[in-house]
Symmetry: C2
Subunit: 440 residues, 2 copies
């Protein structure tokens, strides 16, 4: 069968850019045999045209002039791999206006300016494919948009940041402090020199914004998401939680109730040891989705890295080239902000279970004043753990877990606990997330 040639221009020749170039150059023939499409790398644009890279481009392809891409009408698809939100946004807008379809792995940009970019694409009768922006190589975006369309998606629970999952796995398995595990992650290339965006939960929030938009069909903004990072997590709490049957994960959570109200949050979460997400270790990602018809579906794989992300970018290039992305893009209707604003649940109203640790001074009356405050705020205790013997400053760590209660009750109780002079320091509070079991 005759092959159709599809010319592709890349902007950004960093790690993922190199992976994409490598895949197109090395796997082009196999892709052509399987799909009838011959991908051709027409140009690669980067300000740095000198540094050595792990892939060898044919002569004359690498340039620092984006106009070579914009002005070449034979280039159908522009791939933005610049990263960040300023220059990258400009690149995407220019490519759309120049009549190119856009493929991107830029989650920050899509999460922050997705609506504006989508409108620009619609105006120019082009599409943006962003499957690589969430969970790297795991084809989760296309699965939600095609495989699960018939479902009313009611919840998603995702481990979508490999850096945080690696750090928490190390802290758990090796009893390491956060700083030790972070250093190790940096050494292994799982964390950037500046890890702030990852460990703060910001990167997970970007991905949740994108996944929740397409799963729930709502225009989501980053501000809709409550975010708490893992920087303050102590190995002691991971250990105590472990003794009570839990593993600590940074989860991105989206839930929709029967009235369409949604709760979106990223925070450290204790999950039951035997739940499938608890077993996702190291740099791996996994997302569990609950659909009205399908029940629970889980996806597992590498959420980052040169080749896994490149795998998703090239899949999107092919999907754009055969014309399916444009169709999917046209048929993705999101409920507009004016309606969505009213449906976002405030974090204070979210119901969760909680792990609360206080350092109690070793004197009479501690337990009663502590538990009275919890009771006053309608917080019911589900489990407790207090080891015999003393901790630092002659205090004893007391851990309790609660039954489900609203966040605002716990916030109020924590404020009062802080004032108690029989307790030392600030209480530690970590949410416990009971992922529903899809069982018969």
């Amino acid at each position: 069968m005759a092959e159709k040639i599809v010319k592709v221009g890349l902007v950004g020749f960093g790690t993922v850019g190199c992976g994409v170039a490598k895949l197109i150059l090395e796997e082009g023939q196999r892709i052509a045999a399987k799909t009838g499409l011959r991908l051709e790398l027409a140009c690669v644009v980067d300000t740095d045209t000198e540094s050595p890279r792990p892939v060898r481009l044919p002569a004359g392809i690498l340039t620092n002039d984006i106009n070579r891409l914009l002005n070449d009408d034979s280039i159908q698809i522009g791939v933005e791999l610049v990263g960040g939100t300023d220059a990258a946004k400009d690149v995407q807008l220019k490519m759309l206006e120049a009549g190119k379809d856009v493929v991107t792995a830029n989650k920050a940009l899509i999460a922050e300016h997705g609506n504006e970019l989508m409108h620009c694409a619609h105006r120019n009768n082009r599409c943006i494919a962003f499957g690589a922006s969430c969970a790297g190589g795991i084809p989760i975006v296309s699965s939600i948009r095609t495989g699960l369309t018939a479902n009313n998606i009611t919840a998603m629970y995702g481990i979508v940041n490999g850096t945080c999952n690696y750090i928490l796995s190390e802290m758990t398995s090796k009893n390491e402090d956060f700083s030790e595990a972070l250093a190790q992650a940096q050494k292994k290339g799982y964390a950037e020199a500046d890890p702030a965006l990852d460990v703060s939960g910001g990167d997970s929030a970007h991905k949740l914004a994108i996944l929740a938009s397409i799963a729930f069909g709502y225009e989501i903004k980053l501000d809709d998401i409550f975010v708490e990072g893992i920087e303050a997590i102590s190995k002691v709490d991971i250990r105590y939680g472990g003794e009570m049957g839990y593993v600590l994960k940074l989860l991105a959570i989206g839930q929709k109730d029967k009235d369409g109200r949604i709760s979106l949050r990223v925070h450290p979460s204790f999950v039951a040891k035997d739940s499938p997400l608890a077993r996702v270790d190291g740099p791996f990602n996994a997302v569990s989705i609950f659909g009205s018809a399908v029940g629970q579906v889980m996806y597992y794989g590498r959420g980052a890295g040169m080749m896994p992300t490149a795998s998703a970018v090239v899949a999107d290039i092919i999907d754009v080239a055969i014309g399916n992305s444009a169709t999917t893009f046209r048929h993705l209707h999101l409920k507009p902000r004016s309606e969505v604003e009213l449906l976002i649940e405030k974090i204070g109203n979210c119901v969760s279970r909680f792990y609360i640790k206080v350092l109690a001074k070793d004197q009479p009356g501690v337990v009663s004043s502590y538990s009275r405050i919890l009771g006053d705020h309608h917080i019911s205790i589900s489990g407790a753990l207090q080891h015999e013997g003393r901790g630092p400053d002659n205090t004893v760590p007391v851990v309790i877990t609660t039954h489900p209660t609203q966040q605002k009750n716990v916030t109020a109780a924590l404020g009062e606990l802080e004032q108690l002079d029989v307790l030392s320091g600030k209480p530690v509070c970590i949410r416990i997330v009971d992922i529903p079991e899809d069982k018969d």
Copy 2:
């Protein structure tokens, strides 16, 4: 935005048919809001128009006359949910020739007559969407065909039959015999009254044929697949395997080597206890896929049942309606049989590890004659287990596990072992499958 009306006709009003009708009737509005497509159930064809069903159709829709579907040009999509291969094939061919696109969950038909049906579809410029045929609600077919297109897929390991997985899980966790666990599965609705197709591995082979075709890009025939069922599995071997660190699963395995040779097999398989597939219990399905760029990706969910399968059928209906299935279908190029024939690895050449149990008579010289035969056939022992004390007939069960070796060596050795008069009965042989770990 204006809704586009898409008229759908169903043939087969059994379990899945009821689920599909229910989804279209109950979720139609939500699907329209999200995609702009209003699915309309134009007619439902079944020979039985009398029996009560768990879904209430609008008046006048149910009919026993397939011509109402075939002759109605406003019906764009025909859904074949008849099951089996004879009448169903006729229905699909007639629908294609009448100009309908076809959606089906019929794995047996696609596995056995897929090539003929695909050719008929191409001739009539129509498409067949069969995403629901494999692994029910898990969107695995679309993931392979879109999300993983950039990858050279080198292996897949799947638990794709919920009946067998439920039976093996019960045998493992409750120390039940095959017949007890089967009866329990039938009682819970996880096994049919005639369970032969499931427990023989035949159903898994159907799914493997379909998944391997699209993953490897080869025209696969059922005959290419080596199949062994779970009927002869004894709980004793599950227990001994467990003591050695393994869990027994019925796996559908497809492997491709660097020369493009492929090995396709369905058989009971001991997998390491800590591998992700080992933890897939009960009626759930999971498929692990290894891609050259993405590494390991795993999908997990319900592989059968009314609503999970209906979820996949309706997803395909939407994909056909927006036009993407037709495009994907046109771009799916399979290597033709003439080339594939030469690339199928014979089971005898397949390399595996093995669990072998013999019943040894309690007399001198047993171990030496036993191990001499293994050595003669280049089979190297990796582990051994022999409990003290006697078994039935004054024999002692001796279990060994082997290092990787070709199937034909083991087959030859087993033949000789059977003749040994210091052993009682036939040796038991179960393959051990080491699923590669995608770790750094």
